[in-house]
Symmetry: D2
């Protein structure tokens, strides 16, 4: 078990990181919600705080009274056992409490948590640590969402503002070489999921560790690049139904998809609106929008912000397929594997199903993962927006197949 001091410091560091991520943002930026799935920054700041209040303070701090009883309605996300809540699509209407008041709320709860941590008796310390750690992992997940959601907010603005001129998160600027190297996975029974004896944190959906029987296959050593994806587009990728899943082709047609969400072709009206006098416009074939704003396409960079549908269509076009989540996990430690967790999450062809013997956590935390186990696909790895130390080989990220606003890309696989 971690020491109190270590945990206290870790708590402070992670909570401060959430605030640090907001430095480039105005209060207005942090308030709006451009689509139901992209929550306001301020809401993320408050919701993660509410999580500590309800799951930690209310459970472990005797006599703790809610900072503001109205916040339970405002900042509950989806916990049915914790009461009614603001409908998800309407989180962007919460101009009150103000951003300043939300920061006050954060400080109040942080102080109470630290106070509780110092005074908890030894008997309850271990349980407290578990739930505190859950809260911190939860906060880190929302740190990634804060970035994906503000990026969507800025992309929804005709001015296409940049989050930061020069983005230095945790991604090494590695350059993809031309050809994918195929790394063989021999097949047979492999163990997947969280090692039961390991002390480090894992979500309930990574358990129990169990064997799966793999067929031999090969997995790409690196991610698919923007240049490669541009070839797919130029080869008619978005106009050829035979490359797409049925639901994917329906999404292409209904949404008018012609390229990844954050790509803009030279000559796009949006470019002229955002950069009316720029000399640069039109000299490149593609521009992409990212945390550093509008930039010419970097051919060597991993393609990102793809839906599962787009990833699967690309794989079909390339004559191969996406890996299963178990192939991905089995390949994680193999020599030669690169770009595992620092660039983009990698769609697998595995539906987000429970592991055999899956047991959700108890109490409100039981709603954390298990109830989403239908209709979603597993992503593995980690991204430029994932906090350092958050992801791991057994980590199961998941999104609906049409989700296009995450740092999500492609690693290929094939049967052998």
């Amino acid at each position: 078990m971690q020491s109190k001091d270590f945990l206290a410091a870790r708590y402070t560091q992670i909570r401060e990181q959430s605030v640090a991520l907001c430095a480039p943002l105005t209060a207005e930026d942090q308030c709006v919600q451009p689509m139901p799935d992209a929550s306001p920054t301020k809401w993320h700041l408050a919701h993660t705080t509410w999580f500590f209040e309800r799951l930690v303070l209310e459970q472990y701090a005797p006599g703790y009274r809610p900072y503001d009883s109205r916040f339970n309605f405002l900042f509950n996300s989806y916990y049915e056992s914790l009461g009614a809540r603001q409908p998800r699509p309407q989180r962007g209407l919460l101009t009150r409490p103000s951003l300043g008041e939300v920061h006050d709320y954060r400080r109040h709860v942080d102080s109470a948590v630290q106070h509780l941590l110092q005074r908890i008796d030894d008997e309850r310390l271990a349980t407290l640590c578990n739930v505190l750690e859950l809260g911190l992992q939860h906060e880190q997940q929302h740190q990634e969402l804060m970035l994906t959601d503000i990026l969507y907010t800025f992309f929804s603005n005709p001015l296409l503002p940049a989050y930061r001129e020069h983005v230095v998160l945790n991604a090494p600027s590695e350059t993809a070489e031309r050809d994918i190297q195929w790394i063989e996975i021999p097949g047979g029974v492999v163990e997947v999921g969280k090692e039961p004896r390991a002390m480090d944190f894992a979500f309930d959906n990574e358990k129990p560790r169990h064997g799966v029987l793999l067929s031999p296959c090969a997995i790409a050593d690196r991610l698919v690049t923007c240049g490669e994806f541009a070839n797919f587009i130029e080869d008619g990728g978005y106009r050829r139904p035979e490359l797409w899943l049925y639901d994917g082709w329906a999404a292409v047609q209904a949404g008018g998809w012609q390229h990844p969400l954050y790509w803009l072709p030279a000559g796009a009206p949006r470019l002229a609106i955002a950069r009316p006098v720029s000399q640069e416009t039109g000299t490149h074939d593609w521009y992409t929008f990212g945390l550093d704003g509008l930039q010419p396409l970097r051919e060597d960079a991993p393609v990102s912000q793809l839906s599962y549908f787009e990833a699967a269509a690309y794989a079909t076009w390339a004559g191969v397929r996406l890996p299963t989540e178990f192939e991905w996990e089995a390949a994680h430690d193999l020599p030669g594997m690169r770009q595992l967790a620092q660039h983009v999450w990698q769609w697998t062809r595995s539906s987000y199903d429970p592991y055999p013997g899956f047991q959700p956590l108890t109490g409100a935390a039981s709603e954390y993962n298990g109830k989403f186990m239908v209709g979603q696909l597993v992503l593995r790895g980690g991204s430029v927006a994932t906090p350092a130390g958050h992801a791991r080989a057994t980590y199961r990220n998941f999104f609906a197949p049409a989700a296009r606003w995450q740092f999500s890309g492609i690693r290929l696989a094939q049967d052998i």
Copy 2:
């Protein structure tokens, strides 16, 4: 023609009034858009400025260059002749430009307008005055919308914040007496619309003055009160289809209407969320939400924020009808008429059709009124949110029959 100095002062006064209305609001409050029809305060501030830039400065100030060419896309409302624009339902996504930048924009344009006004040659002064006055009337219309829209924004917030604790706009706190007095209108040909020789401003939709033939009727001396409307509700008004127009009853059912939009019955869950510990909750039958926040129903106050459908259903329930816009105008100067323009706009049963011989303004201003002349109903009078001096007896306000977020109420009429 007004003197330059008078107009310059009037310009300053009206423009400053827009800013003054924002005093109680945070930048967050001014940014969001709770429904497509309710624009953000910041957008109103910028759009009215853009109106002066495009219709005044660009036309009359030689060499004037747009403050920021991107703003034409952002702040054009519906002027097809002035280029593409931000889709109306997405005005709330404009966290940039910031509120501060919009105020800079306002000051820049104000300065350029004042400069233009001082230097314009006499030949063009008259035309300039006309379009400047149009811009000021336009600004005043948006001042009312700023209040109606921020009220909707606050009502969309579970905390139900107040715009101001004590609202002192321009409405005298007149008390309705119990019984309506019926004022007779004799019938015959009456002249309606703007007097052609009068120097004061009127919109194109108030012209030309023309005769209409009225049948004898009587019109109520005062507005319907909240107490009277509560009787309608208690008599099953929202559950009796025979009282409603076909489209109105469809709206009741589709929207689950049970009372006016901003009324909350004692025991409503929203009351408990907004005021979790208040002692007061539940001791009144109804609460209403207004610029001064949540308040117990004032029985004597004119009922407000009604749709045409609700107004027409009430009139049917009361055994009478709504006036036509011409009856209203004919009654405007009759002795005994009260509450004409300071409380709520009054729905008439008149569709918003063009007057015989109607000619829209020229240029972009031709899109100001005429293109909305289908599917809307005329309201007459003025409201607590209307700037002083803006409304007049011939003024034709108009909204779609389902609109519930305006300061709109009921004056009754009947055949005799």
Copy 3:
């Protein structure tokens, strides 16, 4: 008052006409509902029968028992006072009762009505005649709808079947001459609406007769032709927002309107699907779909199946306007007026508002007209699908401004 025998014969003739209209149709054709506004033929046949059952037999025939008590739910259209009903968009799901059973129902009710008519005492005869006549007028309105709705059904079928190879309804095959002649209306007070002393039938919405004050204007002697409308299209009519009302332009964009609903340009994919081997396809610029199926555009024929939005845009393009309903009525008897009632209903710029002193009928019939008096526009005249003798100079037809599936066209007017 009409004699019993006359009325009995008239009843038989009109009821048989409904059945005769179905001769070219299969049971399948008569069952489906291609959009909520276009009801199945079978439903029309049953609903008009139900109308006689509820408003005539149940009121006047002592001891009459409903033919099938379940039919009240199935075939009530919108009469709130007569109970719950099948939702309008789901009328096409009624494969049972079968078409044969509906004809049995018709015969049963017809027999009971005739029996009642022969036995009614003199005292109640006059009232019975009134409501019987209302039922027959109602049946005739549905005869027109049967044709408009089956036409929409056939247009919804990729095979584009014809209702009849050679349509001979009641329209003279009159050819439009090139130039419109403008017929002057002098202005002044004119009387409109149903003559109170006239014995012939009129709906409540045509009453009371009253004076209106007209300004001088001129009205076109004939309807706008397809050839003229083709010029509008070729001049960019559907791409120029300045020609359209705001709601009209929104409809153009949302619906992708490029021409009237039933027009197909040469080269349209629908042509190739419907006539895969036809030699004829493509040798004309336009094809139109009508009761006689797909035909090359007849340049001289009045343009039909237009929405109000399209009619108003055309008038704006032509530099004139649509008439008001009162101008139309005042012009009805003027020398030189042609194509008044045999080709297409003519959109007026008048909203469907109540006449001063309007009193709806009593009982269930009160829901017949009055509750639709919002959001609709008046059409005057009559069409190729209107039963002979049904329309008259004071007749007020009405539809929502986006309705495109009626026999509705354009007569122009202008101020003078």
Copy 4:
């Protein structure tokens, strides 16, 4: 390989079975489409015929010309490689071709297929047999859909007509005993999927046979009964979010689900409409609607027409879970297993993912299964509506988790 004569007879038998299923239906019944997923009977009859025309006759019969080239547009379901098609939600608009014409089409194609089969050279016979068999299996799948879809059609009719008074399909009237017996599955590697050497037909999605590693578990010997499901309802099953998946609870709320789709509680308004004078109504707690019309709930019958969401919620309420598709397949031959394939398809918790090494068929048939492998759940077993001989232990049926109109129910499982 089957003999020509055997296959010819099998072809005739299966094709005639489709026609036999329509015996109780009118042409009207067979024409309409009550929701996008429930196609008209006539469309099923034509589409399965089109399948033989395009995949068999066009490929194997030299010089075969399409019966009607327009039918390719009308009766293609979702085969992108075979051209454009009637949008799925609009299949119910095809009143033409008539039912009689579709039967002509069937006879024409049947004759051509039989002729081809007799004359095919030996070299191509094997391949022809494969695709003919695919066409027959396809026809059988549509036979089940014809029943599920007509049932939905009849349920959409307020009269609630019965398909047949006495339904004798292939289901033995077995009575469920009170207590479920739990049958243990030992765990370890089991082989699943189609035996490669077996001669009988299997779809591509059942291949290749491969090993999966199971954990020990137990599976219920019988299906959940209506009586058991009624207990779930009475225990608040549809009102307790903690029992539901997130998407399931959203479906409950959006759809107002309170019981299975085809259940009606005593006192439901629909009962009074359908059976206005029945003495029986209200003496039972529940009525269910099935092929034999409205009947009092049979407590011992397997619950049917459930969505995956409802099945999963029931399992959670019962403290157990649904089986995976591999557990189901492994248990298929175990002693004591009952009600495997004659009553209802059984939802598994397995997403419909491709088997390792999955290869779709070639040509148009490649679109048969693979492109649906996202967002769906696997059902195993077979139902009362499944043609005899169609299902098998390795058969993978699949539907979206919200689908409620199939013969789909619950077999439980649990970890041990």
